[in-house]
C-alpha cells in the first residue's frame, strides 16, 4: 500500500452508523488506494451493505469522516453531483432502465455531466455511439447490441451492460454489493475477472463477497463482524480458521 489518505480514492475514518439494537457499523476505518482491489467479507448482517451505502454517499454516517479522493462531501449541489459521478455502483439488481436500449442505458451514466436537455435528446437520438461501443467492447460485448432494448438481453449480457455503464460514467471508485450472488459459478468468475481487469489506477474497487473461493484476484480483504473490522490485510493471510470464525464461528 503506497498511497496515504490524501491520495486515497476512498478514505473512511471512525465510521459509525446506529441501528435498532446495536450499531450497524462501529468505528470502521477503511482506505482504498488507486489501483487497489479490495474484497469486503462478512456474514449476512455484518454491516457490508451499510458500509457500501456510506461509501457511495447514499447514507450519511452518524460519526466519522468520509473522504473521496481526499475531499469531504461537497456542500454545493453541483459539486456533490460531480463527486457522485466519480463513484460507480454495480447494483445487485443492476437497475438498468428496462424501457430503454443498451445505448440509452449506457448514456444514462453521463447525466451528471449532461443535464436535462441532453437527457431528453438521449431518449430521441443515438448519442456518442463510439464511446458506448468502446465500453461494450471492454466488457467483451458486441457493439451491435447498442440498439437492442435491455429486456432482449440474456442475464450475463445484462451484467456486462451494467458494468459497461460504470465505464461510461468514468467513475474512479467502483463499488459492488454482492454482484455475483445470483450467478452460476462460471459466469461469476468471468464477470469478476472483467471487473478486476477494469480496476486499475486511477480506479479502485471495493466489492462485497460471500464466496471466499473467488478471492484470488484481490489485493486485500477487509472482514466485518458485528459491524466492526476484524481483519484487514492481504488475501493470502486469510486462512480457514479466520473464515470459519467470520461465517458463524465463535466470537474472537
Amino acid at each position: 500500500m503506497a498511497a496515504g489518505p490524501p491520495t486515497a480514492v476512498l478514505a473512511l475514518r471512525g465510521i459509525r452508523v446506529p441501528g435498532r439494537e446495536r450499531p450497524r457499523v462501529e468505528d470502521v476505518d477503511l482506505s482504498l488506494a488507486p489501483g487497489e482491489r479490495v474484497a469486503l467479507l462478512g456474514a449476512s448482517g455484518a454491516g457490508k451493505s451499510t458500509l457500501l451505502a456510506v461509501a457511495n454517499g447514499l447514507l450519511a454516517p452518524a460519526a466519522g469522516t468520509v473522504l473521496w479522493e481526499g475531499r469531504p462531501p461537497a456542500r454545493s449541489r453541483r459539486g456533490r453531483r460531480l463527486q457522485q459521478a466519480r463513484i460507480g455502483t454495480l447494483w445487485q439488481d443492476l437497475r438498468l432502465i428496462e424501457e430503454l436500449t443498451v445505448q440509452q442505458n449506457l448514456n444514462a451514466a453521463r447525466l451528471a455531466r449532461w443535464g436535462w436537455p441532453k437527457a431528453l435528446l438521449n431518449l430521441l437520438l443515438p448519442l456518442e455511439t463510439e464511446a458506448c461501443a468502446a465500453a461494450l467492447r471492454a466488457m467483451d460485448l458486441d457493439p451491435a447490441l447498442l440498439d437492442q432494448p435491455v429486456t432482449a438481453l440474456s442475464g450475463g449480457q445484462r451484467q456486462r451492460v451494467a458494468m459497461a455503464r460504470l465505464l461510461r460514467q468514468e467513475a474512479t471508485l467502483l463499488l459492488a454489493d454482492e454482484p455475483l450472488a445470483s450467478l452460476d459459478p462460471r459466469l461469476a468468475s468471468e464477470l469478476l475477472a472483467l471487473l478486476l481487469a477494469q480496476a486499475k489506477a486511477p480506479r479502485a474497487l471495493l466489492l462485497s463477497l460471500h464466496r471466499p473461493d473467488l478471492l484470488a484476484g484481490f489485493d486485500r480483504a477487509v472482514a466485518l463482524k458485528g459491524g466492526r473490522v476484524v481483519f484487514d490485510g492481504p488475501v493470502d493471510q486469510l486462512d480457514e480458521a479466520r473464515l470459519a470464525d467470520l461465517y458463524g464461528g465463535a466470537p474472537p
Binding site: R80, R95, L111, L120, L123, L124, L125
Partner: protein, 506 residues
Amino acid sequence: MLLPALVPVPLAVLLPGLTHGGGWDLIGSFAAAAVTPSLDPLVLGSLVRGLGVTAGMALLGWAASLVLGLLLGVASSRTVWRTLTGTALPASLIRRLLAIPRSIHELIWGLLLLQLVGLQPAVAVLAIALPFGALVARVLSDLLDALSTASLEALRASGAPAPAALLTALGPALLPGVLSYGGYRLECALRSATLLGVFGLGGLGTDLKLSLQSLEFHELWSGLWLLLAVMLALEGSVSLLRRRWLAPGRFVLARRGVGERSREMLLATAALLPLCALVGHRLGVDPSALLAWQPLPGLGQGDWATTLALPWPRLVGGTLLLTVLAATLAVGLAPLLLLLVAPRAWARRGLQLVWALARLWPPPLSALLLLFVLQPGVVTAALALGFHNLGVLGRLLLESTDDADPAAEEALACGGSGPRLALLYGRFSGLARPYLAYGAYRADVILRESVVVGLAGATGLGSQLLESLSSFAWDQLLALVAAYAVLTLLGEDLSDRARRRWLAVA
C-alpha cells in the same frame, strides 16, 4: 361477480307498474328505423357537419386536457416532489385541490360556462378540458408514484441531477400508461362532446336530440351509425398505435434504431399541434372570448332560505339510489349477457355491436326514449345510465376475458363442461376481483354522471340542478354543485377502499 346480476329481478317486477299506455308503437318504429336510416343527402350533409363540430370539440378538449393533465399530474406526483425537494407534502396538497374540478361533471362545467360566457365553441372545449385534465392528472400521478424508483435512485447515486434522472428513469416507464389512458380519454371526449351537444352546446348531439324530439327516427339512426363509424375508427387507430409503440420490445423494437420509437411519438405529437390549430380555426374557437364574462343574473341576492328548504334528504337519497341501481345493472348484466351468448360467435358479435352503441348513445337520449313508455323517475334514469355503462363495462370484460389465460377454460371444456360453465369457472373466476374493483371505480363515475339523466325527472340532485339552472337560481345551483362534489369525493373514497380490498386479497 354474478350477485349484482340479481338486480334486474326486482326491476322486472317494478317495471310493469311504471309503464304508461302509449309509446310502444314509437319504440317499435324507432327500432325498425335502425335498419332503414335516412340516406337523404341533405340530412347526411347536415349530420356530417354536426359530426365534424363534435369531433373537433372533442379533439381540442382532449388535447387541452392532456396538456393540463400532464403538467398537473407531474406536479401532484409524490415521487417527483420527493426527488426534487425531499418532501412529498406539496403533492398531497395539489392532489386534494384537483379533486374539486374532477368531481364536477363536464355537463355541469358546460352549463355553468354557458351562463358565464355565453354560447361559443370554446365553452364545450373548456368544459371537457377542465374535468378531464384533473382526471388525467390523478391517473398520471398514480401511475408515476407506482413505478419502481430503483433505477431513479441508481441514477441519482451516479450524480444525475433530479430533472434529468426523473426524465430518463421514469419517463419511458410512464409512456405506456400515458398512451393507453390518453387514447381511452379521446373516446371519452368524443362521447362527452356528443352529450354536451344534446344539452345545446352544438354539434351532432344537438341534431340527434332534435331528431328524437321530432320523432325522425330514420335521421336519428343515420346520425348514430355515423357516430359509431367514427368511434370504431378511432378505437381502431388508437389500438393500432398502441400496438406499434407498446408491443413487447423483444418482438418489434429489436430491429429498430435507438430512440426511433420516441422520435415517432414526438412527430405524432408535433403533428397534432397544427391539426388542433386548424380545427380551432374552423370551429371559431376564440380563447380570448372566454374572458368576456356576462353579468350574472340575480347573483348576490341569494335566497338561502329557499335553498335550505330544498328536500335535501330526498335529493341525495334519489341520487344514491340511482347510482346504485345503474351501477349494479351495468356490473351485473355484462358477465351475465356474455355467458348467455358464449356458445355462439355471431351472438357475441351482436352483443359487441350493442355495447358499442350503448357506449356512444348519450344517456339523456336513452332516458328520453324510455319516457315514451315509462314514467319519469329514478328507475327510468337508472335504466338509461345503466345501459350506457353496460357498454363500457362490457367491452372491458370482453377484452380482459380474451386476454385471460385460456388453459383453465380449455381443461374444463375437455372435461365435458358446457361452454357457459367453462367460461364461468375457467375465466370469470380469475377475473372476478379485478372486474369488481373496476366496477367500484365505475360506480363513482356513474355518481358523477347521474346529473346527465336529470331530464328524466325526479332523479335527485341532477334534475333539481337542471331546474335550478334554467330558473337562474344561482344560490341553489352553487349548493347543488357543492353537494355533488362532496358526494363524489365521498364516493371516490369509498370505492377506493373497496378497490383496495378486492385487489389486495387477489
